[in-house]
């Protein structure tokens, strides 16, 4: 009992007496631990955060009808299969051919708030359609009709008697003599995507129902899901199997490329983390070695007074462990703050906390410190105390 008290006293006294040296050692350990916990947190969180950035490329899964068209209910039930936390957006589309000034134009009805999530790269000059009667038109359409944001136009829809097909035939409406439906729209914005979308006009589902007089059915549904390609494949199979009338497909261009680029990025961060960590740990070790090597004289004196080698090693290890633990804890906190700052600055979102990382950081710092102490202490204990005390 007494022995342990003495031991604790020796360790604490040694730490408190030699304050300036201990601050240096503590600082070194804290730096190492900060880099460890900060970089590991970033490394683990990068795929998730970057994955969210890759959603900028738009939909990575589409639902198509197994036969003809999908009902609103089957689309809803297919969407409900996807875990809510992973679903970025889901925009169902219904395509119909309408006529503007007697020229056929493809009109897409969709949930415009969801489109902004699934296709964040759409560049709209003007506003997205907000209320009923608003329509967004593609750049090409705008040029053809010389329309601007705020212009008014009338869409004509010819109800097709012999079953409408989902792929639109531009001339389909022209031969029809059935009385047409009309609806007036205000152009809210012009769409620029650099792709086929510029040839279409976009309106809300409710407006389309009103124009066609038919309840909503969907031709296709675009989904943006933040998940790895393996997870996507599982979701895809599950939906195709369990939901009737819906076939889920992956947008290969997006998913494959995402996997390629993301794996490179992750490898980059991993390698950087390993290199930085290895170098920092060696830095920490050399500093500790320098701090301990200074105390050769003390070790010599103790040996001269009759201390055994093991008791000296124990005492130094005790100091090392206390320093390592305190430095590790400090570093874990600082590292988290750093990772959080990076996440907020780069990705505008907060980092996921990894509770396991704090004990790991502390343990690693303790081990590194202990090893760094051990080497000079060992060499010091090997020396004859008389030589050390003489200063040779």
């Amino acid at each position: 009992m007494k022995k342990r008290q003495m031991y604790i006293r020796m360790v604490t006294a040694s730490l408190l007496r030699r304050r300036s040296r201990m601050v240096i050692a503590l600082l070194a350990i804290a730096i190492g631990a900060t880099i460890l916990s900060g970089l590991v947190t970033i490394y683990v969180d990068v795929p998730r955060q970057m994955g969210a950035q890759f959603r900028n490329y738009g939909a990575n899964m589409i639902f198509t009808a197994t036969e003809d068209v999908m009902s609103a209910e089957s689309v809803e039930s297919a969407i409900s299969v996807i875990p809510e936390s992973e679903l970025v957006g889901a925009a169902p589309y219904r395509y119909e051919t309408v006529r503007i000034n007697d020229i056929a134009v493809m009109a897409a009805a969709t949930r415009l708030d969801e489109v902004q999530k699934t296709s964040p790269f759409w560049d709209v000059s003007g506003d997205w359609p907000a209320g009923p009667g608003d329509i967004m038109i593609g750049k090409t359409v705008a040029q053809t009709y010389n329309l601007k944001a705020g212009s008014r136009l009338t869409c004509t829809y010819a109800p097709v008697s012999e079953g409408s097909s989902d792929t639109a035939d531009p001339e389909a409406g022209e031969e029809d003599i059935v009385p047409d439906n009309y609806k007036d729209f205000t152009v809210s914005g012009i769409l620029d995507t650099g792709g086929n979308e510029e040839d279409y006009v976009y309106m809300s589902i409710e407006d389309m129902e009103e124009l066609t007089g038919e309840p909503a059915t969907y031709d296709v549904c675009e989904l943006s899901i933040s998940a790895t390609s393996d997870e996507l494949n599982i979701i895809k199979d599950e939906i195709t199997d369990s939901v009737e009338g819906v076939t889920a497909r992956l947008v290969k261009k997006v998913t494959e490329s995402e996997t390629t680029v993301l794996s490179k990025l992750q490898a980059l961060v991993l390698l950087v983390t390993v290199v930085v960590l290895a170098l920092t740990m060696i830095c920490v070790a050399t500093t500790m070695t320098a701090v301990v090597a200074e105390r050769r004289k003390e070790i010599g004196l103790r040996k001269a007074l009759g201390a055994s080698d093991s008791s000296i090693v124990y005492e130094f290890m005790g100091e090392g462990i206390v320093l390592g633990a305190v430095g590790g804890l400090l570093g874990a906190i600082l590292g988290f703050i750093f990772a959080q700052a990076v996440s907020v600055n780069v990705f505008n979102s907060s980092i996921t906390i990894m509770p396991l990382l704090t004990p790991v950081t502390i343990i690693v710092s303790v081990i590194v410190t202990a090893i760094a102490c051990l080497i000079p202490v060992r060499s010091a204990t090997d020396v004859d105390p008389a030589l050390v005390l003489k200063g040779e």
Binding site: I42, T167, A267, L279, T286
Partner: protein, 428 residues
């Protein structure tokens, strides 16, 4: 005497000096490696993002209004085409170096033996070009459609004189029962051609219903000699800023100096503009899905790397600082003795700083080269290509090492100068 003291210090205390040099080398190599990787990561990631395909689409002027709107059904009616002979000019624009890949497309329609219509697209697969600049470039679908799965067979290889060959989409192949090495006869608008199927691909998109052939075969089928429909260009670009957005709307609205800045920066809009200049009657537009996302991801990656670099630089700096402080403090007795025999504060400071600086130079140089090595390891492991060395790294690392080492010395030296020689020599 001064030089002798320094030299002696190195000889006698080589272990201690070696440790300081080693730590400085570690810090310097960390800084060098991180800076090199950080400065090059933009280019590297940009290359990787090319996996997403072309970011610029070039179509004929008159066609841009109608082509894609009516492309189902009535081919060859609109009559606007680009000239195949002008394709090489794309590699002569101001930002030619940034154009990494491009391919022309010519689409026509053909009838299969069983009477069904099929869309046939002529394009480049791995077209080899010798450019006037002496550069060589292999361009075409092989790299522009990196996400295509070749389910059986292989890509068309233009180098080995693959003539009268075709690649068939998986959906169409299944429907028509076509397999690799089959000969299929395509009845085109102008003439009939028999081609051999060398590969079947799965693109995951609508291309699965098409047939891809070399350009000359599609031109033969459609009687469209020397004409092409569109060009897909994959270019390395700089993320858009306000100027680029303004210019994209109307380059005429810029002042002369703004125009020059815009023209000489690799914005997607300025590259589009330059392509329009060299290809007669063409409209080049950015494929927003690729172009704008690329910018975002590039920016984020660069920012991430910058922050990691800053952290590791701070770590390296503090590490060096710390060790220098620790090793100078250790020498209190030696300095006490010097003071006791009458050394000035200035002389002691000079001695300590010179010693440490000599070590820093040795360690810094070693660390710099080690850092270059680390950077190359990272480059080769992650990107399979070397990291370009930027001259900027040298002054930054030099300044960093000197400042950090000096900063490390100062608190220790101040402490040593305040020591009373008697106390130190007594061992208190």
């Amino acid at each position: 005497m001064f030089i002798r003291m320094i030299a002696k210090a190195f000889v006698r205390q080589w272990k201690k000096m070696a440790m300081i040099a080693f730590t400085i080398a570690l810090g310097a190599s960390l800084a060098t490696a991180m800076l090199s990787v950080m400065m090059d990561v933009g280019d590297k990631i940009n290359q990787e993002l090319k996996a997403y395909g072309a970011n610029i689409n070039v179509v004929p002027k008159g066609n841009s209004v109608i082509s894609e709107l009516y492309d189902v059904g009535d081919e060859n009616v609109t009559g606007a085409y680009l000239n195949e002979s002008e394709l090489g000019k794309i590699k002569t624009i101001f930002w030619a170096f940034n154009i990494v890949d491009y391919a022309p497309f010519i689409t026509t329609e053909a009838v299969l033996e069983d009477g069904s219509f099929v869309e046939v697209t002529g394009t480049w697969f791995n077209h080899h070009m010798e450019l006037p600049t002496g550069e060589q470039l292999d361009a075409g679908l092989n790299s522009l459609r990196s996400w295509w799965d070749i389910t059986s067979g292989r890509w068309i290889d233009e180098q080995t004189n693959d003539k009268s060959v075709a690649m068939v989409g998986s959906t169409l192949a299944k429907k028509e029962g076509i397999s690799v090495n089959d000969d299929i006869t395509l009845k085109g608008i102008a003439s009939d051609v028999t081609v051999k199927v060398v590969g079947i691909y799965d693109s995951g998109g609508e291309e699965d219903d098409y047939i891809y052939v070399p350009v000359d075969i599609a031109q033969l089928l459609g009687g469209l000699d020397g004409k092409i429909d569109s060009i897909e260009v994959s270019a390395l670009t700089t993320p858009d800023n306000e100027l680029a957005q303004k210019a994209a709307r109307d380059p005429g609205s810029l002042s002369v100096s703004q125009y020059e800045t815009w023209y000489c920066t690799a914005y997607v809009s300025s590259i589009c503009y330059q392509i329009e200049e060299v290809i007669t009657d063409s409209v080049a537009s950015a494929v927003r899905q690729v172009a704008s996302s690329e910018g975002t991801i590039l920016e984020k990656t660069q920012l991430l790397m910058i922050l990691i670099t800053i952290l590791s630089m701070i770590g390296a700096a503090l590490g060096i600082c710390n060790l220098v402080t620790a090793s100078v403090m250790e020498r209190s007795q030696e300095i006490g003795l010097m003071k006791a025999i009458g050394a000035h504060n200035g002389a002691i400071t000079g001695l300590v700083i010179t010693e440490i600086m000599c070590t820093a130079v040795i360690g810094g140089i070693a660390g710099f080269f080690a850092g270059l090595g680390f950077a190359q390891i990272i480059g080769h492991t992650v990107f399979d290509s070397a990291i370009n060395m930027r001259p900027m790294v040298i002054p930054v690392v030099t300044v960093l090492v000197f400042i950090v080492t000096l900063t490390g010395c100062i608190p220790a030296i101040r402490m040593l100068l305040n020591l009373h020689p008697t106390e130190v020599l007594h061992g208190r």
